[in-house]
């Protein structure tokens, strides 16, 4: 599990940079895409915030929690594995995966524009979820 935890921590670290970058860039002018088209449309749409709080801040909180859980798992005592933390990573990544799928759907079918930073985040969440063992399988 340790190697997986390291990979999850690295992915969450990348996610933190992605979310922080978007939080800084939001409202700082048009955000050019390099791979997709329509970053500004997605990031300034009404779906980009909940109750005035940008989704990137929720993403940042999520990645910070996942990163912290993964780091604690890396440093766990092999004699007393912190099973509960791994379970939390699984459940949180699962919940985030549902939200990410919803957001990708909004980009594809409602906004008809894609934001590469958001797609990166969705890919990170999916990878983290797939890497985390199901609690029932250990």
């Amino acid at each position: 599990m340790k190697t997986r935890s390291v990979v999850i921590a690295v992915l969450a670290f990348v996610g933190m940079i992605d979310a922080l970058y978007l939080s800084i860039k939001r409202n700082a002018g048009p955000i050019p895409c390099h791979v997709t088209r329509g970053c500004t449309d997605v990031l300034t749409s009404k779906y980009s915030e909940i109750a005035g709080i940008p989704l990137s801040w929720f993403g940042l909180a999520f990645y910070l929690v996942i990163f912290s859980l993964a780091v604690f798992t890396i440093f766990e005592d092999p004699k007393q594995p912190l099973q509960q933390l791994t379970n939390w990573i699984f459940y949180l990544a699962g919940a985030a995966l549902v939200v990410s799928a919803l957001l990708v759907g909004i980009q594809a079918f409602i906004l008809k524009a894609f934001c590469e930073y958001c797609l990166l985040s969705a890919a990170l969440v999916l990878t983290m979820f797939l890497l985390t063992p199901h609690p029932g399988r250990r």
Partner: protein, 219 residues
């Protein structure tokens, strides 16, 4: 060192590095800078002709906007652009260029045609404002034409002539020339602004817009 301390140190260090990396990336050139008044393109772009002009001919500053009528962020910037023009009536003029992103905004080309068709009857800016102000009404419509015609009739336009304009190859060519100008100027997103040929990044706030204009007025 206590067992709990090591992970905590790693977490704090990682957060600091992530924050540093995010700030560094956000300040990279060729991207909108965090400080709004910054200019990212060192060379000054000369726009040869084209564009619709609003404001005095001899204004000290020309604000060039490459915009797409269906783009929500262009709609969000529109009231700011209007307001800034009223705040600097003598010093500033707007030069609007069409840059419809037809791959993601299927109604954007027809909206640009509607503006130009209204312009043929001397009401370009009325339609320009109306397209942005009523963007939500036509943006997702599978048939936006009747909405544009209804807007045109509000300004007392000849609707038959207006509808002919919506299909005019000449007007379409004019819009496509604007797109070529935008591509030549390396426009990557909409709206993209230039002041006297220098690309500027303006935050979505009036305060920031004023700051950017002031900094160029006192150059």
């Amino acid at each position: 060192m206590s067992k709990a301390l090591k992970p905590l140190i790693v977490i704090v260090l990682a957060v600091a590095v992530a924050a540093g990396a995010a700030v560094y990336l956000s300040r990279q050139p060729d991207q909108p800078a965090e400080t709004s008044a910054a200019t990212t393109r060192a060379d000054v772009v000369a726009f040869k002709g084209g564009g619709r002009i609003r404001g005095p001919e001899n204004a000290q500053l020309t604000l060039v906007e490459f915009g797409d009528y269906q783009c929500p962020s262009c709609g969000a910037y529109h009231p700011l652009v209007k307001e800034i023009l009223t705040r600097y009536p003598q010093q500033l003029r707007l030069e609007f260029h069409h840059f419809p992103l037809i791959s993601i905004h299927p109604n954007s080309m027809m909206a640009s045609m509607a503006a130009e068709a209204a312009g043929e009857q001397g009401h370009y800016w009325e339609m320009h404002d109306a397209l942005f102000e009523h963007q939500r009404e036509w943006s997702d419509s599978p048939n936006a034409e009747p909405i544009f015609v209804a807007l045109a009739s509000r300004f007392g336009l000849d609707t038959n002539k207006f509808m002919q304009g919506l299909r005019s190859p000449d007007l379409q060519a004019r819009i496509l020339k604007d797109v070529t100008r935008g591509n030549d100027a390396h426009v990557e997103a909409v709206p993209t602004f230039f002041i006297n040929g220098e690309q500027v990044h303006v935050k979505l706030s009036m305060e920031d817009f004023v700051q950017v204009i002031e900094s160029h007025l006192h150059k």
